[in-house]
């Protein structure tokens, strides 16, 4: 009986949808003409109507309520030649179009379409969404890199409002939030610790990345589970026309990728991997310098297969695996320590996309993601300690996108997640700590893009959560609105509540291998933030964008690892101190997207503070976290010198990092240990308020020059990079050497100038 009722409701809804769609529509996919990969956030303008659309992350778009006649579409996207296409719209349901865009690296014979700025279709900027910064593959790969490793998170760090804790860490701190407050999605699947090499590099292989989008704040209800921001990374779908590959060697690693169509053109595949090969270098250094150095390597592999089940249904199956492995022997000959450390991510997911009707788009995702780390230290045959930590996330989510209304774009869906965490600490076979937990988190959301007036649009949304452990029920209302002052200028306002149900235990400044993720339970309440963002967007020219944004974030029930807890209690409250914080600031960004010169200038003026009342941190009072940087200026420039040479450079200036200054000196007397047994007389530096001083400002120039040529008939590229070109090392930490008297103050600086080469061959 119930099933019949449901069928009746669905049938009625579909009829209504059909009735509503009495006029013609244009729908379809925009793809890369070379590889046939779907292209996200492409602008499609219906010439002469000021109607348009923007493709979603699957490259799909719908423009409805069009009178039957012949229309001319103008399709444009950064990094591609603008294209035109004539489309005949009738009352009949049309099959999805496939519009191909030619990469701008390919020269055209035809006249290039030029469109007036006022005619340009709505794009990602011309929607209520605020604080969204898209970065395409070409930009990521053109930016100067560290150790010749193009890095996605380091590319993100060049966006105003995004800060790093130091040059040595690729973690991102967005608008005053800590790294765990950013939801990182790799092909719709969550990744928990996206770094290699102790945070020096991110886990994303830039060769595998097609597109990424950072939502710095006030993101829509479609996203949930984190209180700060969202980084969405989409990997290559694979060339649907021909098989091709790329191999590259750099100073520390080799990379390779392969992609192509499936048999019978029923889909595509893409796989990319890389591995470092520093072991021989470390061995040489070990022998030459007679020092104990570890063996270390990391690798990662991305794979993805797209199956075109029907014209309207695609199934994607993908996987990621990355691992860091370090082994070290040290100590006296008769008293050796062996240290083993490995950590990494694994994930696997499948995603089904189906166009149910001409304007109803459905997506289902089933995914599993795991982060684990294992650290052991042994002395001869005695295991001194073995720390093991794993965190798993099972996600099943679905959403429905309805594009059938001229004034509405509706989206709804659900997320069901299971969290599992296991941590133990052992000596020999004895476990001192062994915590194993799991819980479920469910949420549903709905959002609408509603064009109330030709000049005014809103995007209301809501996400409702139920977290099983502790039976927490949270409601996150969201709202965004845009007012089109004129074709070049838009005012936007957005905000809402953003809840978070997992917290990270981290020792240090960003993601590191010892991180542990702990779900909320009945001993602590979920964290949440209230955000508001005001934005003014101005497009003075077709290829020039200027954005200014002001934001305020109120962070509640934020957590920090309780360093003073050594117990084995298995409740979340025992692992954390709980506090609050705030962040506010102004950001400006001027971006040029086309031409020989591209890039952006950005500046942010920001403040963030936090406190943990009643804790050991700063006496429970307010303090600036290390990533608080008052001024942050960034210039990113890519210059196509000619067909063969490209040059890119980034220059950054920011306020120095905070550090905790020594203010007093004393003699420490431990119970039963006279100061004479210390080598330094038990001198001890007493520190003041947390981060009460700042290092000098940092500024750094990175440059990369790329030379494109052929290598035995194959396209090849030589990259010459200079990291920290004028050798201005940034300050990282201050140490006090109490073995010296007077106490020696040592400021540790980070990376010096590093010139590097890498070489790529495509086939």
């Amino acid at each position: 009986m119930l099933t019949k009722k449901i069928n009746l409701i669905i049938f009625t809804l579909l009829c209504l949808i059909t009735i509503v769609q009495a006029e013609g529509i244009i729908r379809g996919y925009v793809i890369d003409a070379y590889s046939a990969e779907p292209l996200p956030v492409v602008n499609i303008l219906v010439e002469g109507t000021k109607r348009g659309a923007c493709t979603n992350l699957d490259g799909y778009f719908v423009i409805d309520n069009l009178q039957p006649k012949v229309y001319n579409l103008i399709i444009s996207f950064v990094g591609y030649h603008t294209a035109e296409k004539q489309v005949v719209v009738t009352y009949e349901v049309m099959n999805p179009l496939k519009i191909e865009l030619i990469p701008s690296s390919v020269e055209l014979e035809d006249v290039v379409v030029e469109i007036e700025a006022e005619e340009k279709a709505e794009d990602i900027r011309k929607s209520p969404r605020v604080s969204v910064v898209p970065v395409d593959k070409a930009t990521i790969r053109s930016l100067p890199s560290l150790m010749a490793e193009t890095d996605v998170l380091r590319a993100i760090q060049t966006i105003p409002g995004v800060k790093s804790s130091s040059d040595a860490n690729s973690s991102i701190f967005v608008r005053g939030g800590s790294p765990d407050q950013t939801l990182i999605l790799l092909d719709h699947n969550i990744l928990f610790n996206p770094t290699h090499m102790f945070g020096l590099f991110s886990t994303f292989n830039a060769d595998a990345v097609k597109y990424l989008e950072l939502k710095k704040g006030a993101f829509p209800a479609y996203y949930g589970g984190r209180m700060g921001s969202v980084l969405e990374v989409i990997t290559n779908d694979g060339n649907r026309r021909k098989a091709e590959g790329m191999a590259s060697i750099g100073i520390i690693s080799a990379r390779a990728s392969l992609e192509g169509p499936l048999p019978n053109n029923k889909g595509s595949y893409a796989i990319a991997g890389r591995r470092t090969y520093m072991e021989p270098v470390l061995e040489i250094m070990r022998n030459a310098m007679d020092v104990e150095l570890p063996d270390y390597y990391f690798y990662d592999v991305n794979g993805k297969v797209n199956f075109d089940l029907t014209d309207r249904t695609t199934l994607t199956v993908g996987a990621y695996r990355g691992n860091d492995v370090m082994d070290m022997e040290m100590g006296d000959t008769d008293n050796r320590y062996s240290l083993g450390l490995q950590w990494g991510n694994r994930s696997i997911y499948s995603r089904l996309r189906h166009a149910m009707s001409r304007n109803l788009f459905v997506s289902l995702v089933a995914a599993w993601s795991r982060y684990h780390s294992d650290f052991s230290i042994a002395n001869e045959d005695v295991t001194i300690n073995d720390y093991y930590n794993t965190f798993m996330d099972w996600t099943f989510k679905g959403d429905v996108e309805y594009m059938g209304q001229e004034k509405h774009k509706f989206k709804t869906g659900f997320w069901a997640r299971r969290y599992y965490t296991h941590f133990y600490s052992r000596t020999e076979d004895v476990s001192y700590v062994d915590v194993e937990e799991h819980t479920y988190n469910y949420s549903i959301f709905a959002q609408d893009e509603w064009r109330i007036h030709p000049l005014f649009e809103i995007q209301p949304g809501i996400r409702v959560y139920y977290h099983e452990a502790g039976q927490h029920f949270m409601v996150d209302p969201r709202m965004a609105m845009v007012y089109y002052f004129n074709p070049q200028i838009r005012f936007k306002l957005a905000g809402g509540r953003y809840s978070q149900f997992i917290n990270i235990i981290t020792v240090g400044e960003g993601f590191n291998m010892f991180d542990m993720w702990v779900p909320v339970d009945d001993s602590v309440e979920p964290s949440y933030a209230d955000q508001i963002v005001f934005s003014v967007e101005y497009d003075p020219k077709e290829d020039l964008q200027f954005t200014t944004e002001a934001y305020y974030t109120d962070m509640n029930r934020i957590t920090n690892f309780d360093y003073m807890n050594t117990g084995t209690d298995d409740e979340a409250k025992d692992a954390f101190i709980i506090g609050d914080g705030y962040a506010y600031g102004l950001e400006w960004m001027l971006r040029r997207t086309e031409g020989r010169w591209t890039g952006w200038l950005g500046y942010s003026l920001s403040w963030t503070k936090r406190r943990f009342p009643g804790s050991f941190m700063n006496g429970g009072g307010w303090f600036y976290p290390k990533w608080d940087r008052r001024h942050d200026f960034i210039a990113v420039c890519n210059y196509a010198v000619n067909k063969r040479w490209d040059i890119s450079a980034t220059w950054r200036y920011n306020t120095g990092q905070g550090f905790t200054q020594g203010v007093g000196l004393t003699t420490i007397r431990l119970a039963g240990i006279d100061p004479e047994y210390w080598s330094n007389g038990a001198n001890w530096v007493m520190t003041g308020e947390v981060n009460n001083y700042r290092f000098p400002a940092d500024h750094r120039l990175d440059i990369t020059a790329s030379y494109k040529h052929t290598f035995f008939g194959l396209p090849a590229k030589l990259n010459i990079s200079v990291y920290n070109a004028y050798n201005r090392r940034s300050f990282w930490r201050r140490f006090y050497n109490t073995n010296e008297n007077p106490v020696e103050v040592e400021d540790v600086k980070l990376l010096p100038v590093i010139p590097l080469l890498s070489y790529e061959v495509s086939f």
Binding site: N335, G567, V641, L665, A671, G688, F731
Partner: protein, 389 residues
């Protein structure tokens, strides 16, 4: 902000190079060569190029070798010159604080009590002008009145400590029968009127409390112990002495314990080498006696093992032992105050932002307690042992 601007200005050498090179690049960039055709059918304005050169105002501008050479040379000049700066140290006004360090041991006379002033860091750190070596004797407090009393037992006399004239800043109990008892809460009060480090007359009052941990049994296992295992007797009356001289090739000691209620909030083991620092001989067989030298910062003669309260067993690895000779090993169940003091101290040593530990109201320092068990072993290098190389 002004400091940040000044820092950039200080980097003037770099700027000079940048400016010079930029001017060179600018001059070459404006070199004009004959125009290319105004338009090419089928080619947009954006595509209208003269080979590799850019079109401006209908004319092609040469991308000269000089321009690109300048772009390449700039980084190398900058590399050579560098642009590094040092961190100018600032300092805030620091008011020295009185610091009490006092430990009570279950069943032992009160002997470990010290009073001192903390010192301004700027006086004794190389980052500051006119820094001088730190001498703890310059900061001792000698005339404090220190009283210790049993909070839960008014029948116990208040203990007034005596200043040790031979060790300035050290206070002790002259009453050897006044012994702290397990599970008892004790308080301390310190009153002082006298000069501070600036010779100004000041008055302060400090107070604190702690609970003395109760006794418990530690079972220890090793082949050198008669019968293979024993229970370590409590201090101060007895200690366990392992007779045979040992090497790091010997098997490790294993122990477990059954904590009594109120027996503390964690366990700490002190390893002390009972050898003068100028007589130290490393156990490391790679150290060649008579040739190699011990580094100055390697003269540590103690190690500490820290264990949480729910750890009930322990394998004593040889990695705590670096020197030949007699070693004193003390197991302590410690009060919560001392446990937190040690834990915070270790966190601070790792560079974590943790407040300076302590439980002294009105000043700095620690008033803690422990219940102690002690053993002695003697170690020698492997090659010195019978059958050694």
């Amino acid at each position: 902000m002004m400091n940040q601007i000044l820092n950039i200005i200080k980097c003037g050498w770099c700027r000079l190079i940048v400016d010079t090179a930029s001017q060179s690049a600018y001059n070459s960039y404006n070199t004009v060569i004959p125009a290319c055709p105004e338009s090419i059918p089928g080619v947009s304005a954006a595509q209208r190029t003269c080979g590799n050169d850019e079109v401006r105002e209908g004319r092609c501008h040469e991308g000269t070798l000089l321009k690109y050479t300048a772009l390449i040379i700039i980084p190398f000049l900058l590399i050579l010159s560098g642009c590094d700066v040092n961190n100018p140290s600032e300092v805030e006004d620091y008011e020295p604080a009185p610091m009490l360090t006092a430990y009570l041991y279950n069943g032992e006379p009160v002997e470990e009590v010290y009073m001192q002033w903390t010192a301004p860091f700027e006086y004794h750190a190389t980052a500051y002008n006119n820094a001088i070596p730190y001498n703890p004797d310059d900061y001792i407090i000698t005339d404090a009145v220190i009283k210790i009393f049993a909070l839960d037992n008014p029948a116990v006399d208040i203990l007034i400590l005596t200043h040790d004239s031979e060790v300035p800043g050290h206070y002790y109990s002259e009453d050897d029968d006044w012994l702290p008892q397990g599970k008892q809460k004790y308080g301390v009060i310190v009153d002082y009127t006298g000069p501070n480090i600036y010779e100004d007359t000041v008055t302060f009052h400090l107070e604190s409390t702690t609970i003395v941990p109760d006794h418990y049994d530690i079972h220890i296992f090793h082949p050198y112990i008669p019968g293979g295992s024993t229970i370590i007797p409590p201090m101060p009356d007895n200690s366990l002495v392992i007779e045979p001289v040992m090497t790091r090739d010997d098997s490790s000691f294993f122990m477990y314990w059954n904590p009594a209620p109120d027996s503390g909030h964690g366990y700490i083991v002190n390893f002390i080498t009972m050898v003068d620092s100028d007589s130290l001989v490393p156990l490391d067989p790679d150290f060649v006696i008579g040739e190699d030298e011990i580094e100055e910062d390697e003269y540590w003669r103690f190690s500490i093992e820290f264990m949480p309260e729910d750890q009930l067993q322990y394998t004593m690895g040889w990695y705590y032992f670096n020197w030949e000779g007699l070693h004193q090993i003390t197991f302590m169940a410690v009060s919560k105050e001392y446990h937190d003091y040690m834990l915070a101290g270790m966190n601070i040593m790792q560079g974590l932002d943790v407040d300076m530990p302590g439980n002294i109201e009105g000043g700095e320092g620690i008033f803690g307690a422990a219940c102690r068990y002690r053993m002695y072993i003697e170690l020698e290098r492997v090659e010195n042992a019978p059958g050694g190389n």
